[in-house]
């Protein structure tokens, strides 16, 4: 048995794999926090099947002395909690992977003698404590022990975590955690496993959040006080987050009867002066599309969080993809402007989500925040989330008797009043309308109104965020990416060790910043990396700038890119 490879690492990838219902999420929640509190850098990601029980799900927790924020294929420590686990993550297991589990029961026939297995009888230990349900907590204890987390701190955290449960359940989980911790100490003492990831004392005080929380925090920072949505993976976590904090922050959070209702409620709320958002995915957003056009016609602000998952139709409900960029870009019939953001970092999601509310309000348009399952479910730690970058700017005006909702102005933006604020009347209409907001079939006025709505695009372009260049400015090859692939491509770039290759990341994908073309033209070779099958962002770039990206690395299996995969594909191309 060799554990030398993990001993040398300052970056360990732990994977727990088992059935839905075996408590893998509990393990993830406890371990990411406990390891972070002990001073490790953490990223947690998960992949799971669309079922409540059974199947095969896995969670990866990457523990590092460096600040890493992306998923890797490599597994250094695998804890399989059922028989299917080894098959499920089989491709990612190497002789260097240390498998902690039940040798006969779980590893059994999968082992041709080339696996590194340390026998830990999780179910037996759990059964002795009171039931197999405690297996996951035993596993949590083993990992905490292997990383030499302070024993008392760990047990305290376990107690706190289960504090909503009955006393006996808390006690049994503590016992399971203790037992796991003891096993780890035996493994360390016998020399079977030795992990020496350096701690980064700063990370103990870091903030640990996931993508859904980042969007939610950003929304609150942007003054969101209304969310109406219909549950749909992977977007629901934002509704959950804002509902949980509804009372604290005066947020109306309503689960609507369907997505159509959700977005029409949000438009009603904006009309009456609230700052409203919806959170949705794939098919749910498809149902909202007519109302996206309504926002265009009413010149209503609305913030749409669209967490992408593979389609068409139901597709792979719990998986990830960057497949809905064109859906967002072209959603709604007719012609009207919009903004599409696609955060790459969690910090971006906070900033962009808050900005979405200000820009929606300022330009009276729909603003999209495009994330995906991978982004929603990824956790990592960061030193701070400065709210100074955010701030609420309100554009609502007090009306007077002469108020006209669609007064023609030079930049296309008419002052937006709300009913009950001032002495004027506010009339908005989905029909083509006059300046007062009443139905018209005056075709000359129609032309003026179309021009007015489209004029706002110029304002939006002024505010467009520039792409971020990672690497040197004198590149010969430029990698182009957008949204959630930021950290993965950045880390892959580091692994390539090529000074002539840089990475251009877009967190605003529409409209594009005016510098886009000059970045592209400077490179001899441009490679787009996208999580979809048809290179949707490359097409958008072509449409907006005329630049044609030749080389593309595309993935649409339902899983996110891993660092190794990006490195390997780039090495083939460069």
């Amino acid at each position: 048995m060799s554990t030398s490879s993990i001993q040398k690492r300052d970056d360990i990838s732990i994977v727990l794999c088992g059935e839905a219902g075996q408590g893998i999420q509990t393990v993830e929640q406890i371990l990411t926090r406990v390891l972070k509190l002990s001073g490790f850098n953490i990223i947690g990601t998960k992949e799971y099947m669309s079922r409540v029980r059974g199947g095969s799900n896995s969670t990866q927790i990457r523990v590092s002395s460096r600040n890493v924020s992306s998923a890797v294929d490599r597994i250094d420590i695998l804890i399989p909690l059922d028989k299917k686990a080894l098959q499920h993550v089989g491709k990612r297991i190497s002789p260097d992977t240390v498998i902690l589990g039940e040798k006969d029961e779980i590893v059994g026939e999968n082992d041709n003698g080339d696996l590194t297995v340390i026998d830990v009888p999780f179910s037996q230990i759990a059964s002795d404590i009171g039931g197999r349900v405690y297996s996951n907590t035993v596993a949590t204890g083993v990992i905490a022990g292997l990383f030499k987390v302070d024993r008392a701190d760990f047990l305290n955290y376990v107690t706190t975590f289960f504090s909503g449960e009955k006393e006996t359940i808390i006690e049994k989980n503590r016992e399971a955690a203790k037992k796991g911790y003891e096993i780890a100490q035996e493994l360390i003492d016998s020399g079977a496993v030795d992990i020496d990831v350096k701690k980064d004392p700063g990370s103990a005080r870091d903030i640990l959040i996931n993508g859904a929380e980042a969007v939610g925090i950003g929304a609150i920072a942007g003054g969101c006080n209304f969310i109406s949505s219909y549950p749909m993976s992977p977007s629901t976590a934002v509704l959950v987050f804002l509902s949980r904090h509804a009372e604290e922050f005066d947020i109306v959070a309503e689960q609507a009867e369907d997505e159509i209702s959700a977005i029409n409620m949000a438009l009603g709320a904006w009309y009456a002066g609230a700052r409203a958002m919806v959170t949705t995915s794939g098919g749910g957003f498809a149902l909202m599309e007519e109302a996206v056009g309504l926002a265009g016609m009413l010149e209503s602000p609305v913030v749409i969080h669209l967490a992408q998952r593979p389609g068409p139709a139901t597709g792979l409900p719990t998986r990830t993809e960057q497949g809905d960029l064109q859906l967002a870009l072209y959603s709604g019939h007719g012609e009207f402007p919009r903004i599409i953001f696609a955060p790459g970092k969690l910090e971006d999601a906070v900033f962009l989500s808050s900005m979405a509310f200000n820009l929606a309000d300022k330009c009276q348009i729909p603003v999209f925040i495009l994330t995906d399952q991978y982004f929603m479910d990824s956790y990592y730690n960061m030193p701070s989330l400065p709210l100074s970058d955010t701030g609420i700017v309100k554009y609502v005006v007090k009306t007077d008797k002469r108020y006209k909702r669609y007064a023609l102005t030079k930049n296309g933006i008419s002052p937006r009043g709300v009913p009950g604020f001032g002495s004027g009347l506010v009339s908005v209409d989905s029909d083509e309308h006059d300046e007062e907001g009443h139905i018209t079939e005056d075709l000359d006025l129609r032309v003026k109104m179309v021009d007015k709505r489209l004029a706002k695009l110029k304002e939006i372009e002024k505010d467009a965020l520039p792409p971020e260049l990672v690497g040197r400015g004198d590149y010969t090859t430029l990698i182009v990416g957008w949204g959630s692939t930021y950290h993965t491509i950045k880390e892959a770039l580091g692994c390539l060790k090529r000074d002539d290759v840089s990475f251009l990341h877009f967190k605003q994908v529409f409209p594009l910043h005016r510098t886009t073309l000059s970045y592209l033209k400077k490179a001899k070779k441009v490679v787009a990396i996208e999580g979809n099958a048809t290179a949707q962002f490359s097409h958008l770039i072509n449409r907006q700038t005329g630049f044609n990206i030749q080389d593309k690395i595309l993935k649409y299996s339902g899983l996110q890119f891993s660092v190794e995969e990006v490195v390997a594909q780039l090495e083939k191309l460069l």
């Binding site: 959040i209 609507a256 209702s261 949000a266 009603g268 009309y271 609420i392 309100k394 009913p419 209409d429």
Partner: protein, 288 residues
């Protein structure tokens, strides 16, 4: 009729001469006036259809949205600012067809909105197809052999689902219609007013005369607090009863259940985010 504050003055109205909508418009404006409502504090929300043009003919705040979606928009408006009086108005196709799901859930949610449904048993703006309330056998260019589906009984559905206010009116009786609308607006909670109305262009069966002959008012002895009795009257064969079928004054309003309004009724747009609280929330992510 004397001028009321809700009059738009001399405007071009898109309805056919003789349309029942005119009577409903007059009844509504009169009701709003008698309730002494402030046009600036009222919003009329509609979808699409001939009836849904109504808000353009009333001097007040207007949200004319999508076909079938007046109720969600009205709910969003009322919830964002409970100080506003909110009416969601449209036709039978708009509210019971395209917007049927919202109708069902508006009853459950019990937001304090008044839902006025112009029910002429036909699609008029699209020129004469069957509506959810068309009677069996009603022939149209699409339902060539006559309608075969059971007409949607909105009154019975609303009572079955314990809607907090359920009434039916007839546009031909402007005075009673006005009184029913007044009661509905004054009621706290979701209030359905289904208004039977003739369509002079596309419904030659359920004419003004037909409604006159096939409707009658619930007796004074009818107890609107008796749900079973209300349901019986809503489902009885023969002539259609008019009046207030049912009330449930004990149902909590949606807005009252929303945590944001537990301690204050201040509209959302007048509130400020407490950034210090947000910083506390972010910092809580450092320890757990």
């Amino acid at each position: 009729m004397k001028r009321v504050p809700f009059d738009m003055g001399d405007i071009d109205i898109a309805w056919c001469p003789g349309c029942g909508n005119f009577k409903i418009l007059d009844a509504l404006k009169q009701a709003l006036t008698e309730l002494d409502l402030d046009p600036e504090k009222l919003v009329i929300v509609s979808g699409i259809g001939q009836a849904a043009k109504m808000p353009h003919y009333v001097r007040t705040n207007v949200f004319n949205g999508l076909h079938g979606r007046a109720i969600p928009a009205a709910t969003g408006i009322k919830t964002a600012n409970p100080e506003l009086t909110v009416i969601a108005e449209g036709g039978d196709g708009d509210m019971y067809g395209e917007g049927g799901n919202h109708f069902l859930h508006a009853i459950r949610r019990n937001s304090d909105i008044t839902n006025i449904v112009h029910n002429n048993m036909v699609y008029a703006l699209t020129k004469g197809q069957a509506s959810p309330t068309s009677t069996i056998g009603f022939t149209t260019p699409v339902q060539v052999g006559g309608v075969t589906e059971e007409p949607f009984n909105a009154i019975a559905v609303a009572i079955a689902q314990d809607a907090s206010f359920v009434a039916r009116a007839f546009s031909g009786d402007e005075d009673q219609t006005k009184d029913i609308i007044k009661e509905a607006i004054a009621h706290r909670g979701y209030a359905l007013v289904d208004i039977l109305q003739n369509c002079v262009s596309f419904n030659k069966v359920n004419t003004y005369q037909w409604f006159k002959e096939n409707t009658y008012y619930l007796e004074d002895s009818h107890d609107p607090l008796n749900r079973i009795e209300a349901f019986k009257r809503a489902t009885e064969e023969g002539k259609l009863p008019l009046g207030i079928f049912y009330r449930n004054p004990d149902k909590p309003c949606f807005e009252d259940t929303v945590p944001a309004y537990h301690t204050s009724r201040t509209p959302l747009f007048k509130r400020k985010v407490d950034v210090r609280k947000l910083q506390v929330l972010i910092d809580s992510k450092r320890s757990g």
